[in-house]
């Protein structure tokens, strides 16, 4: 079957990408220009979720702390912009180097454990950096701070919504392509070997820690880039970007989309952001003040939704598509 790759899931991903590409053109046509911002957020969180999925889905390591790296990226843009450095490449270089150093150090400590302890320790480190961000009173402390200017990318002005949108789109597509190549490379195969049976990989002579640490750093850096884009979108940086709920949201996105699928996290991010928007501005005219109840307490409904998805839908939304396809072959 030479035509195997052009499957249902491929067409779904292609159609979804096409839809994403057309949003800035379609949104003004249907009179909803704010969709551009909403889909920018979907793609940014999708990007971060792709990064998390790299270690969670393909490496089998559940990190409850990837918001840390999103926050690092956002603070890198915020702090440098605060001191007048707006050159995008300088910001990128600084953010990636700080992110890489942090990821290597934290990764080395976290990867000494596995399973439950790994989940807890990644959460603990994120909380540590959260408190660090809160104590940076010079940079807004608890409230965070507005960013004076967006990153300067030379000819392209990111102050224009559509330009920023297509930059995010291009970065997402590029990272998805790179992730696709990495997952199917020798490195990716070794990584998934570590996931299914690490002891056997060690017996085969692979230095598994090195592979897992590389995967951890790559996934962290993808999140750093997502954080930089987020700071440029909102022109704001705050400790809230890296608290434990943000980390949890990223996991929810990966699981909604389907663990260990390449495009799934983007679908999951779209699902979560759209559910969030729909519930927090809920008004269908239901009786007994239900509208108000739902829009104030939508987080609780989201919690119930997550519980039901976890208990019933084990493979995620996009993952269910993959499973159906594999079943029909």
């Amino acid at each position: 079957m030479a035509r195997q790759p052009l499957s249902l899931r491929f067409w779904f991903a292609a159609a979804f990408s096409l839809l994403l590409a057309l949003v800035p053109i379609l949104a003004p046509l249907i009179g909803q220009p704010h969709y551009v911002t909403m889909f920018s957020r979907i793609m940014i969180f999708g990007l971060a979720a792709v990064g998390l999925n790299f270690i969670l889905g393909f490496g089998g390591l559940v990190s409850f702390g990837h918001a840390l790296y999103v926050g690092l990226g956002a603070y890198a843009v915020g702090i440098m912009s605060f001191h007048g450095i707006t050159n995008a490449w300088a910001q990128l270089a600084a953010a990636l180097s700080v992110g890489a150093v942090a990821a290597v150090l934290i990764g080395l400590v976290c990867l000494r454990t596995s399973g439950l302890a790994f989940i807890m320790i990644t959460l603990a480190f994120t909380q540590m950096v959260y408190f660090l961000a809160v104590s940076l009173t010079q940079y807004g402390g608890d409230d965070g701070m507005p960013i004076p200017a967006r990153s300067d990318l030379g000819l392209l002005s990111l102050d224009h919504g559509a330009v920023l949108y297509y930059l995010i789109f291009a970065v997402l597509m590029l990272i998805l392509y790179v992730a696709h190549r990495v997952v199917h490379s020798r490195f990716g195969v070794v990584l998934s070997g570590c996931k299914s049976n690490e002891r056997r990989m060690i017996a085969l002579g692979f230095p598994t820690l090195r592979y897992k640490l590389s995967a951890y750093v790559i996934s962290a850096l993808i999140c750093v880039i997502a954080g930089m884009l987020l700071a440029n979108l909102t022109r704001y940086t705050a400790p809230a970007y890296l608290n434990w709920v943000a980390s949890g949201d990223l996991i929810v996105m990966v699981v909604f989309g389907g663990v260990g699928t390449l495009f799934g996290p983007v679908v999951g991010s779209a699902a979560l952001v759209i559910v969030e928007e729909a519930l927090s501005s809920f008004s269908l005219g239901l009786p007994w003040g239900m509208d108000d109840l739902i829009s104030t307490h939508w987080l609780g409904l989201l919690g119930i939704f997550i519980l039901v998805v976890v208990l019933q839908l084990k493979r995620g939304l996009y993952g269910a598509l993959v499973a159906r396809e594999q079943g029909s072959n």
Partner: protein, 306 residues
């Protein structure tokens, strides 16, 4: 720095450590015995505090509040375990994390719906509202009560686990659940029992912490992360580890916040110290955890098998 200040801070540290112990004892048992990632343990602590505040507001007696809040939290824990969480024991950790994350969101919103987003106040009981003189230094009696309750519970837990039949079964389940089940121990019942015990301890922690910290939605998460640090540092599943490392974490955290800015001021420029001090102080216990893990990945006091 005087000795009085030093003693006061040491007692504050001890008091935080005791609260952390109440919270992490149940958590470490659930982690160790069921191999289950229960991140919603902090929500049970929050529910305990809210139950206590509600009853206290209704009848004005702290004792009655405690007598209602602790069993109510126990019951709530058992219901949550039976309805939702017990189905997840056989699933992977990712599903467990997600489900309990969902539960945290639900509990926070339930609390916000019933009691509103503003903090609820739980007063110190009349009898304990005074101070006790310690080396001619006044120290709140209620904080002594917290330490006392923690010591009593710790001793009781030790007796329960090492001297009773139930404790023996818990230890058997922790050491080898499958084998214990094969020998006829009702493991699901034991799991519910352990979960309920953990919930009751969390509720007790919530009750005791109520008058000290504000009772508000989301109060469980920040202390849950501290309890996770305690468990990782002490060794997952180890009650002994939970005792020692809760005290270590409590004292280190309190001492760091109290003394570190002052110590840094001796070495650094005043403005730098002012900025760096609180930041480093809040990171101290995580650094402690990182150092412990770097040398002993299994924790300071791991469970002894065999």
């Amino acid at each position: 720095m005087t000795w009085g200040l030093f003693f006061t801070q040491a007692l504050n540290g001890l008091q935080l450590g005791v609260l952390l112990f109440l919270l992490s004892a149940g958590l470490t048992l659930v982690f160790g015995i069921m191999n289950f990632a229960n991140f919603s343990h902090g929500s049970l602590y929050m529910m305990g505090a809210y139950f206590a505040a509600a009853v206290y507001g209704w009848c004005g007696s702290f004792l009655v509040a405690g007598l209602v809040a602790v069993p109510a939290t126990l019951l709530l824990g058992v219901i949550v375990e039976r309805v939702a969480l017990s189905r997840l024991y056989q699933r992977n950790h990712l599903d467990q994390v997600l489900a309990t994350f969902g539960l945290i969101l639900v509990f926070n919103e339930v609390v916000r719906y019933i009691w509103g987003p503003a903090p609820v106040y739980l007063n110190v009981p009349e009898a304990l509202s005074g101070t006790v003189d310690l080396f001619s230094l006044p120290y709140p009696a209620y904080r002594f009560a917290i330490i006392g309750v923690g010591l009593v519970v710790g001793a009781g837990l030790y007796l329960l686990i090492h001297r009773t039949r139930v404790g023996m079964l818990i230890r058997a389940g922790a050491a080898n659940g499958t084998m214990a089940a094969a020998l006829g121990v009702n493991i699901p019942l034991l799991n519910t029992l352990v979960f309920g015990l953990g919930a009751a301890l969390a509720g007790l922690a919530g009750l005791m912490a109520g008058p000290v910290f504000a009772v508000r939605p989301g109060m469980g998460e920040s202390i849950l992360v501290l309890a996770l640090v305690v468990i990782i540092t002490g060794g997952i599943g180890s009650i002994r580890g939970a005792v020692y490392s809760a005290l270590i974490v409590g004292v280190v955290d309190t001492a760091g916040r109290a003394f570190l800015p002052g110590i840094l001021r001796e070495f650094l420029d005043r403005s730098v110290a002012q900025a760096v001090g609180p930041a480093v102080a809040s990171m101290l216990i995580y650094l402690l955890m990182a150092v412990v893990l770097a040398f002993r990945p299994q924790g300071l006091f791991p469970v002894r098998h065999g």
